[in-house]
């Protein structure tokens, strides 16, 4: 999704900002971690786009004979995007972050840079994206890194079999950002056994070290809004009212970068309110994930068990419920019970531990193919976790002084390092 979710959130803030670079030789200008996360990279600091790019949309039939409920009638298979070169070249698979689709803004930026450098690129939706949950997840329950990696791997094999007659590939590489970065590690591990691709290099960009810990930190952003997480509706209405007043009194016509820059400069929202926007954006994504999964499994979690929804049924009550459920609710009431049933004796602690890099650290530490890029002020990681990444990947760890969570991804130096990793 992301498209609309972001439109709603970015409708509130976003914009190219011009700031003073600190004296550390790193030119990304936005110092605050939440600001950077929301605003991203100013257009003039992004690398130029490729002159032309050949792109093809793939719609994969990953699960043969899958019966889709009427409400997902528009879902006709997993949508992936291939950017292809006319000559023999390495192919990079990219896995996106929580709730993102195969054409999310960030992954398209990565795709363009790799394309310029001469790679084929294939992007896939996140296992937390409704399209993936419906059309590519074997159990339709997202959240377990090992099982999600198996689903991703199957999608990659399926996509590859579909395009291998059309493009010439010399080598395979793998990359991912945010949750997709963490998943990339598990996919790479699976590849060591299955050997369909023999990835030469794997890059993780702003990954979570442990899924549960990182999501808990994102959820924590909502603890600081007025009234706490149970009042996100009131919080959103309040933010929207402020934004509307600002527009009414300013000399603006269009809701464009200029206007949004003014919103940022005016410090219309407090630090905690900015954090709340990130928390809310996450909840909007996870709402789609929870709903799609519950419908597909007939789980009786938010939709009454055995209810058959059609394309014309109102869904606003489900939306309200899903947005108010935290990841911790989902974890304790849906995800963990599901896997507890499947794996007898699985304790809550053991399950949490399995959702992180630590569970496969022996492999990660021994393999030279991994690299990681993250930021010192990425709020999804604790300082101890950043140190852990340094310990795990040593010299192949790059930690930028600022950028929040993925805010500096499209900054030209970051993009150069990103592509440079695969080139080396």
């Amino acid at each position: 999704m992301k498209h609309l979710t972001l439109a709603v959130i970015l409708c509130l803030i976003l914009l190219p900002a011009v700031g003073q670079a600190a004296g550390d030789g790193y030119g990304y200008p936005i110092p605050g971690s939440y600001d950077a996360t929301i605003l991203g990279t100013p257009d003039n600091l992004k690398p130029p786009p490729p002159a032309k790019i050949s792109v093809r949309q793939l719609v994969l039939d990953v699960i043969p004979d899958l019966k889709r409920p009427d409400i997902f009638f528009y879902d006709e298979g997993l949508r992936c995007t291939l950017a292809y070169q006319d000559k023999k070249a390495p192919l990079v698979f990219l896995i996106v972050g929580t709730g993102a689709g195969d054409r999310s803004q960030k992954v398209v930026a990565m795709m363009k840079e790799l394309y310029k450098a001469g790679y084929h690129v294939l992007t896939l939706p996140s296992p937390t994206h409704p399209n993936f949950i419906v059309s590519a997840s074997h159990n339709h329950v997202p959240g377990d890194l090992t099982e999600d990696a198996a689903d991703i791997y199957r999608v990659m094999e399926n996509a590859w079999s579909k395009v291998k007659g059309d493009i010439e590939v010399s080598d395979f590489y793998l990359g991912g950002y945010s949750l997709g970065g963490t998943q990339a590690a598990f996919v790479a591990k699976l590849d060591e056994e299955r050997k369909s691709f023999n990835f030469r290099k794997v890059l993780m960009v702003n990954p979570a070290v442990n899924l549960y810990n990182s999501v808990t930190r994102i959820e924590g952003l909502l603890d600081k809004i007025h009234g706490g997480p149970r009042k996100i509706g009131a919080y959103f209405n309040n933010m929207l009212a402020k934004f509307t007043e600002f527009y009414r009194h300013g000399d603006f016509i269009d809701i464009n970068d200029e206007f949004l820059y003014a919103v940022y400069k005016s410090k219309l929202f407090s630090h905690d309110e900015d954090g709340g926007l990130i928390g809310l954006s996450f909840r909007i994504s996870s709402a789609g994930m929870i709903f799609a999964s519950d419908v597909m499994t007939n789980g009786g979690y938010v939709v009454p068990k055995n209810r058959v929804l059609t394309a014309t049924d109102p869904l606003s009550d489900y939306f309200l419920v899903c947005v108010h459920l935290s990841f911790i609710n989902y974890f304790d009431e849906y995800l963990y019970p599901y896997f507890q049933k499947k794996r007898s004796g699985l304790t809550r602690e053991a399950f949490i531990d399995s959702l992180g890099l630590k569970s496969i650290e022996g492999y990660l530490k021994s393999s030279p193919k991994f690299g990681v890029m993250t930021n010192d002020n990425d709020f999804i990681l604790s300082p101890a976790e950043i140190d852990y990444l340094r310990w795990l990947f040593g010299e192949r760890t790059k930690v930028y002084p600022r950028g929040g969570h993925l805010g500096n991804l499209e900054y030209r130096d970051n993009m150069a390092d990103f592509v440079g990793f695969f080139k080396r």
Partner: protein
């Protein structure tokens, strides 16, 4: 607005709705009884509802939303792609400019109706510049001259004079609207066709009606060509609400200026 489309779509819509309704009736048998979900909306009644937008016809709206998806997919978008494929980009641009220039007339009289002098003059300047130097509207030299494109319609004129936006309404082919914008659209279309009938630009030409129909069709194609939105493309189960919210909010903000 597109005459030809107005002629076909009631038929298509009626057919479509009839087919989808009969489809529903067959699946109800043999369904196990429902059990309540673990979480329901009543738990969260202490929070405010988010931007409550009047949508009493949601079921109908969703039906039309789905219809628009199919209409796009099997008819409109293939036609638009064909147009994009056979027409050189600079001609596509010229076509867009041409129809945008005709659209200035709507902005012009609606600015007048709303007593917005500056907007009226800017638009007048644009129309004059683009119709002459811009060769009948095929080019847009007004924008680089500093005359920024404005936009007004009769729905907003109604809003300006205090008419409430009314319920949300998804129109066949045209998509998200409110009751007020639908009424405004009808008035603007009426004004336009009255003007065309009065001036009768193809009076002395053979097949004048055919030419008008062709122009309207091209305008409809150009409109879809410029619109990037694709129904259900986000894959997000609550997309309908996101679109409704953005449509409503945008209308509210535009009314302030």
């Amino acid at each position: 607005m597109p005459v030809t489309i107005f002629r076909i779509y009631p038929v298509l819509l009626a057919l479509y709705l009839a087919l989808s309704l009969t489809g529903c009736a067959t699946t109800i048998a043999n369904r196990p009884p429902e059990e309540p979900a673990m979480h329901s909306v009543s738990e969260f009644s202490d929070d405010e509802r988010v931007v409550d937008i009047a949508d009493p016809w949601e079921g109908f709206n969703r039906g039309v939303y789905k219809f628009n998806y199919h209409f796009d997919r099997y008819f409109f978008l293939p036609v638009v792609s064909g147009y994009e494929f056979i027409t050189p980009t600079f001609i596509q641009k010229g076509v867009s400019n041409f129809f945008a220039n005709i659209g200035e007339i709507r902005t012009l009289y609606n600015s007048a109706f709303q007593l917005k002098g500056k907007k009226f003059l800017t638009t007048f300047g644009r129309f004059l510049t683009n119709s002459t130097i811009g060769i009948g509207g095929l080019f847009d030299p007004a924008t680089p001259f500093g005359l920024k494109k404005q936009s007004e319609d009769f729905g907003r004129t109604l809003g300006y004079w205090g008419v409430d936006s009314g319920p949300y309404l998804v129109l066949p082919v045209l998509g998200p609207n409110s009751l007020r914008s639908t009424g405004g659209f009808a008035v603007d279309a009426g004004i336009r066709f009255t003007t065309i009938a009065a001036t009768d630009p193809f009076e002395n030409v053979d097949h004048g009606t055919g030419i008008m129909a062709g122009i309207s069709t091209l305008e409809a194609i150009d409109m879809r060509h410029k619109e990037k939105f694709r129904y259900y493309e986000s894959g997000y189960p609550f997309e309908y609400y996101m679109v409704r919210f953005l449509y409503h909010k945008k209308g509210e903000l535009l009314l302030m200026k």
